[in-house]
């Protein structure tokens, strides 16, 4: 019997199929044409052609955030690969597993400044979890398998695989062998928390009088939302989520006190500042949460659970560090609570909740409606009502992102998809497209603005080709709202380059791409037209809503202040 021989390109596609990949998001070019040929000759893996490689990375990213499955990107060498850089960095900052297959010129040409040659491994080095460059074609399947394993284990992240052209061409063939179970001597991410630390943590929780559970994207990534909810209910503790952690506990759960941080709720930030114990789960004390680190919760004992040891005590010193998978650690904490006859200090808990209700009653997440101009918050509320809170909401970056986070309570994890860490404008539309690929029957919304949407608007074409009827809700304020807000607050109202002149007619633009456009200009027509937009299920709808351009996002932390030093409304400081 003779063993079958495969080209490197065939091995790439065969390996992806063996790893149960359903979709590749990509764009062809010279160095990867052999892979495209191999894709053409099979039907296990479907390729989705974007209009710009950056969108392929965001699309894969959105697909992953919604499903938990590793997204795959394919790009050619040189500009194809460098166009992926922003998307790789976006995934890296939010710990999203992703495998980027990048073409490269033939090994004999590497280093010669050959046509479309870029050192993509070098370019992407600071923004990947790891990268591989293939030098032997028989290695391709296991390099790809390792890339998947690394991307999706421990603290997840993007992995780049560079494939030189001579590894892929039909002239070179080899045997195909793939290990789907990977072991690496240099990589053993922790799973369980150290039992001693668990005991210490529970002892501290038991002595707490003002406990806050502060959770981040780790809960979403680890699918630990059930465990979190159980723990929060067990302790009857207030729970706050970071921007990345929204949906970790239901946004309508009575113990949920809102998002914390720069545009978080007053009650969340106040609770943090007044807590005696903070239980941080899968969150990393980002600067958009802590505000001034030297003033951050000086009286709290901090228990920090994270899969990544570098996240612990990086910005804020943790008194009880626990390294492990957050779902496993929560289960360990609950088991230890059982074993140690945990009894609640009812009196302390009651007075703590009373304090929190006091802050809550100040209704920091609120706005004044206007009879004429549409408030951006109203649009999000309308979106929430029409979709009954069940839509996937993919956001771009800016004021609309904060309004969506504040006014659309997410009942489930993975429903809220945004670029929290890197803050990548142009993320929203391709991310929504990736979600729509995975969940064609669900409402998938791209909340965006007139600035962000233009950063990847070419993808309207991809939406038509693959029938991806997302609903784009653009809060059009004719300016870069968040930039403008900062200019209003910090730069004496000098709107330097934050005004979008010569905006296109978005309705005609959507129509020219073969989609439906709906214009909303007045409060009176908001509900009716939004309802209409969401009733169209088989075509992409671009809703252009003219909103009040003077609206600012509140509440907002005062610069360099403590975590709870906030402007609640214009001119009203907490």
């Amino acid at each position: 019997m003779t063993t079958e021989l495969y080209t490197g390109a065939e091995m790439v596609v065969k390996a992806l199929a063996a790893l149960k990949v359903k979709y590749i998001f990509g764009y062809p070019g010279g160095s990867v044409l052999d892979i495209y040929d191999a894709i053409f000759n099979q039907d296990e893996v479907e390729h989705i052609l974007v209009r710009h490689e950056q969108a392929a990375t965001h699309m894969a990213d959105g697909y992953t955030r919604a499903t938990g499955e590793v997204g795959v990107v394919l790009a050619t060498s040189g500009p194809g690969a460098t166009n992926c850089v922003t998307g790789i960095a976006t995934a890296y900052m939010d710990s999203i597993p992703m495998v980027v297959l990048a073409g490269q010129v033939a090994t004999s040409l590497i280093g010669d400044d050959a046509f479309q040659e870029t050192d993509i491994v070098g370019c992407s080095r600071p923004i990947v979890k790891h990268s591989f460059s293939c030098r032997k074609l028989e290695d391709i399947p296991n390099i790809i398998s390792k890339a998947f394993y690394l991307a999706n284990s421990g603290r997840p992240g993007p992995v780049v695989v560079e494939l030189p052209k001579d590894m892929l061409i039909p002239q070179n063939k080899g045997e195909f062998h793939i290990d789907t179970e990977i072991k690496l001597r240099s990589y053993n991410p922790s799973v369980k928390g150290h039992p001693k630390q668990i005991k210490k943590a529970v002892k501290t929780i038991k002595s707490a009088e003002r406990l806050v559970v502060y959770t981040g994207g780790g809960i979403v990534l680890a699918d630990a939302s059930e465990q979190l909810t159980e723990l929060v209910e067990r302790l009857n503790a207030p729970c706050t989520n970071t921007l990345m952690g929204l949906g970790g506990i239901s946004g309508v759960h009575p113990n949920f006190i809102g998002m914390l941080g720069m545009h978080g709720s007053l009650e969340a930030n106040k609770a943090m500042a007044n807590a005696d114990v903070i239980l941080a789960l899968g969150a990393r004390f980002d600067d958009r949460v802590t505000n001034n680190v030297s003033k951050f919760c000086p009286n709290a004992t901090i228990i920090h659970v994270d899969i990544d040891p570098t996240s612990i005590s990086k910005t804020i010193n943790a008194h009880i560090p626990i390294v492990g998978l957050v779902d496993t650690v929560i289960e360990q904490l609950m088991a230890e609570l059982d074993d140690s006859d945990y009894q609640q200090n009812e009196q302390a808990l009651e007075s703590w909740w009373q304090q929190i209700e006091g802050w809550r009653s100040q209704k920091s997440i609120s706005y004044k409606a206007d009879g004429d101009k549409i408030k951006p918050q109203q649009v999000i509320e309308s979106m929430y009502e029409i979709t009954k809170g069940e839509a996937y909401v993919c956001s771009d970056v800016g004021q609309h992102q904060m309004f969506a986070a504040q006014y659309y309570p997410f009942a489930k994890p993975r429903q809220w998809i945004n670029s929290g860490g890197l803050g990548t404008m142009g993320f929203g539309l391709p991310a929504a497209m990736g979600v729509k690929v995975a969940f064609p029957d669900s409402h998938v919304i791209c909340v965006t603005g007139d600035g962000s949407i233009q950063m990847n608007i070419q993808e309207l074409s991809t939406c038509l080709q693959y029938n991806l009827p997302v609903v784009i809700v653009s809060l059009n304020n004719r300016s870069l709202g968040m930039v403008r807000q900062w200019q209003d607050m910090i730069y004496g109202g000098r709107h330097s380059s934050s005004y979008m002149e010569s905006l296109p007619d978005f309705i005609k633009l959507a129509e020219s791409y073969g989609h439906v456009g709906i214009q909303i200009n007045h409060v009176s027509e908001l509900e009716e037209k939004m309802t209409e937009a969401f009733s169209i299920r088989n075509r992409l709808v671009f809703v252009d809503v003219l909103v009040d351009e003077t609206e600012h996002v509140y509440p907002m932390q005062v610069r360099h202040g403590a975590v709870d030093d906030m402007w609640i409304r214009k001119g009203e400081r907490a």
Partner: protein, 165 residues
């Protein structure tokens, strides 16, 4: 505070650039860095001399450990250890006086003159970084230094403790 980190990592293309990149990316300091394969050719050993307070050092060690290629990291300065650096220095030796002085100082520092030219001596000294500094300043008083090359510090723990896979 000055620290010496010993890192054992996969001897793969690009491993070194990941270490160097990490230090520059996160604004960690590198005073010296040496790298070479070990007795096991699949492994490289890097010695990095760095500085920072306890907090910075903790981050450095964690961040280095996080790199996929890295197998082990240890702070040699945490406990008793031996450290050495090699210095090669080319000195002007144009007359009897400077030749005698260079020879005398080299002997005191237990170094060796390893090459001579018409007008220069090349001296080799090993020791810790302090000793090398002291040699350079001693010899600079007697003659002109033409060229200096230092290997950077390498180190190893005292006693039974070993950094192995």
């Amino acid at each position: 505070m000055r620290r010496i980190l010993a890192i054992l990592l996969e001897n793969e293309p690009g491993s070194l650039s990941r270490i160097v990149g990490l230090f520059s990316q996160r604004a960690f300091n590198i005073e010296s860095l040496t790298v070479a394969p070990t007795d096991d050719q699949s492994l490289s050993r890097i010695t990095i001399t760095t500085s920072g307070d306890d907090r910075v050092l903790e981050q450095i060690i964690k961040q280095v450990n996080k790199l996929i290629d890295v197998i082990k990291v240890t702070d040699l300065t945490e406990r008793s250890h031996v450290e050495r650096e090699l210095l090669l220095v080319k000195l002007l030796a144009m007359n009897d006086k400077s030749r005698t002085e260079v020879k005398r100082i080299t002997d005191i520092f237990r170094g060796a003159i390893i090459d001579i030219g018409k007008q220069v001596y090349t001296v080799q000294i090993t020791g810790d970084a302090d000793k090398l500094d002291a040699f350079i300043s001693a010899v600079a008083n007697e003659t002109e230094i033409v060229e200096v090359v230092r290997s950077g510090t390498v180190g190893i723990a005292r006693g039974e403790k070993a950094l192995r896979v």
